[in-house]
């Protein structure tokens, strides 16, 4: 399973006075089993980009390929594509509508034309995968807390058994604990179920601990596309486009500047701890 974006451009409100480019010459290839962080300042085109990947938005020019097939082709089965490339939007309020959570999660698989039994089986499995408590299954989704709503929204997409799961700012508006829970849950889905994950965020600290590739967007263009450690080397450039490297890299760079012989390439808290302990125990 691979997604390729080839010279993709996108212009909102084309042919009107309000026309403005949201994506400019984007070239990305996404392989099986990757865990990708998509980072960018607000308005940099992240949400627009991911909507190209499941065919919700058609590029103004350029091509999007899924498994080597052009998804703008009239022959292409877009419904099947949306089941394989699951997209969870930023606000769960935009998708929850049923009288209880279980029924809501059934919506996706039902649209795929599965039998009632298979639908319910998948809904149950998906709700379990996101760690949703049985006692809330038959509660109205509107009475849940923000974190729980988000779980139901993720389950609603997971129930279609996607091979690629894209999450648009899944941690927005959550407290630190809720944030960590959701991120750990996503990591579990990647490691245990083997789903390819694309995680959209504007916080480096959120993704640094989890992802193995970072794509940085700036004003509709891909600014960096590399492993985290390489991306974080460009501290100044990141700051100039309204982002920052994770806080630990700043600590390490300060330590290095003060004369300690630490490795400044560490990106996660655990690595930093070990590195500092190593240097100090010498």
């Amino acid at each position: 399973m691979s997604i390729i974006l080839d010279h993709v451009n996108y212009i909102y409100d084309e042919d009107t006075a309000m026309a403005h480019a949201a994506l400019t010459d984007v070239n990305i290839k996404i392989e099986d089993g990757e865990f990708i962080g998509l980072i960018g300042h607000t308005g940099s085109g992240k949400s627009t980009l991911i909507q190209h990947m499941n065919g919700l938005v058609k590029p103004s020019s350029g091509t999007v390929y899924f498994n080597g097939k052009d998804i703008s082709d009239p022959e292409f089965d877009r419904k099947a594509l949306r089941a394989k490339v699951g997209l969870v939007f930023q606000y769960p309020e935009h998708q929850l509508f049923e009288t209880d959570c279980f029924k809501d999660v059934c919506f996706g698989p039902k649209n795929l034309g599965l039998s009632q039994k298979e639908t319910e089986l998948r809904a149950y499995e998906a709700l379990k995968q996101v760690g949703f408590d049985d006692e809330y299954f038959y509660q109205s989704p509107f009475d849940l807390s923000g974190g729980q709503k988000r779980r139901v929204a993720i389950a609603g997409v997971l129930a279609m058994k996607p091979e690629i799961l894209i999450l648009d700012e899944p941690t927005a508006g959550l407290d630190p604990k809720g944030r960590e829970e959701i991120l750990n849950l996503i990591k579990k889905l990647h490691d245990e179920v083997g789903i390819t994950i694309i995680l959209v965020s504007h916080s480096m600290d959120d993704v640094a601990d989890y992802v193995d590739r970072i794509i940085v967007m700036n004003k509709g263009k891909v600014a960096f596309d590399d492993v985290p450690k390489e991306v974080f080397r460009h501290r100044q450039e990141l700051e100039s486009i309204g982002l920052a490297a994770p806080q630990v890299t700043y600590v390490m760079q300060e330590l290095k500047a003060s004369g300690f012989d630490v490795d400044i390439d560490v990106t996660t808290l655990d690595e930093a701890k070990n590195e500092i302990l190593r240097v100090f125990s010498k």
């Binding site: 409100d13 006075a17 699951g86 935009h94 998708q95 279609m160």
Partner: protein
């Protein structure tokens, strides 16, 4: 897709028409509407057409943009033309089987089409060049005399401006919800009529919930800032006529007189 509707939309640009006092524009639109029903001959329509063309030119709104909004009403226009064309009794000039087109029918149909196009273009020009806020301010000020007979003018115009403000927000929200459900393979386009109506539920429930939530938030925010209706309320930017507006009124009076005179000519 929902953004194609230009009727009632504001087009942001710089022009004399944009700068006019909203009251002038409301009165002007009204005068124009009266005028196209006064005039009844070719010369009259030419005068009205020229007046409209002059205003469009002055407004700097691209002609293409104005007529894109007409597409949605084209169907309505065709119905009225067809009905007038075939159903007016009189001297037939053209007969195929039972369908006959009469001289009178043809005249009325053409007249009707011209009037409708003028009417829609004229009123869209007003909304295209006036922000919703200005429009309601103007309306409130024009309707002010009605306060004497206890019509809640301020409240009505406040409700209007809130409603107008909410239209683009709700359109945007609809777009987002639609996408979120389409990502779960929802189908809004195919199926029988009943099925299609049923398929709207996943769109309408989140939309209504969000509209109610927004309305409640807005009410709370207004209350927190001590909003208490129109009594004793002043404006930050009160409407004041300037010389530009007086000139515009003079042009309007002139236009109306010409239309009345031309309307009386016989040919």
């Amino acid at each position: 897709m929902l953004r194609d509707i230009t009727l009632g939309q504001y087009y942001r640009t710089e022009s004399v028409i944009h700068k006019l006092d909203p009251r002038v524009k409301i009165v002007g639109t009204f005068v124009f509407l009266v005028a196209i029903f006064i005039v009844n001959n070719v010369l009259g329509y030419v005068v009205a057409g020229l007046f409209l063309a002059m205003n469009i030119k002055l407004s700097n709104v691209p002609v293409k943009f104005i007529f894109r909004g007409m597409k949605s009403i084209f169907f309505l226009l065709m119905i009225s033309v067809v009905f007038n064309l075939f159903l007016t009794p009189g001297e037939p000039i053209f007969t195929v089987w039972k369908i006959k087109i009469t001289d009178e029918g043809l005249k009325i149909a053409i007249k009707m089409a011209i009037r409708l196009v003028f009417l829609i273009t004229g009123s869209s020009l007003m909304t295209l060049t006036t922000t919703p806020n200005n429009l309601t301010d103007g309306l409130e000020s024009l309707l002010n005399p009605l306060k004497l007979v206890h019509v809640p003018v301020h409240e009505i115009s406040m409700m209007m401006s809130i409603a107008l403000r909410f239209i683009p927000i709700l359109l945007e929200e609809t777009d987002k919800i639609m996408k979120a459900q389409m990502a779960r393979c929802a189908d809004f386009e195919s199926g029988s009529l009943i099925n299609r109506a049923k398929n709207m539920v996943p769109l309408l429930v989140p939309l209504f919930i969000s509209a109610f939530r927004r309305a409640m938030d807005l009410a709370m925010a207004m209350e927190a800032r001590c909003y208490r209706g129109g009594e004793g309320r002043t404006k930050m930017k009160p409407l004041v006529y300037c010389s530009r507006d007086r000139v515009a009124y003079a042009v309007l009076v002139l236009f109306l007189i010409i239309c009345i005179v031309v309307g009386r000519l016989k040919f």
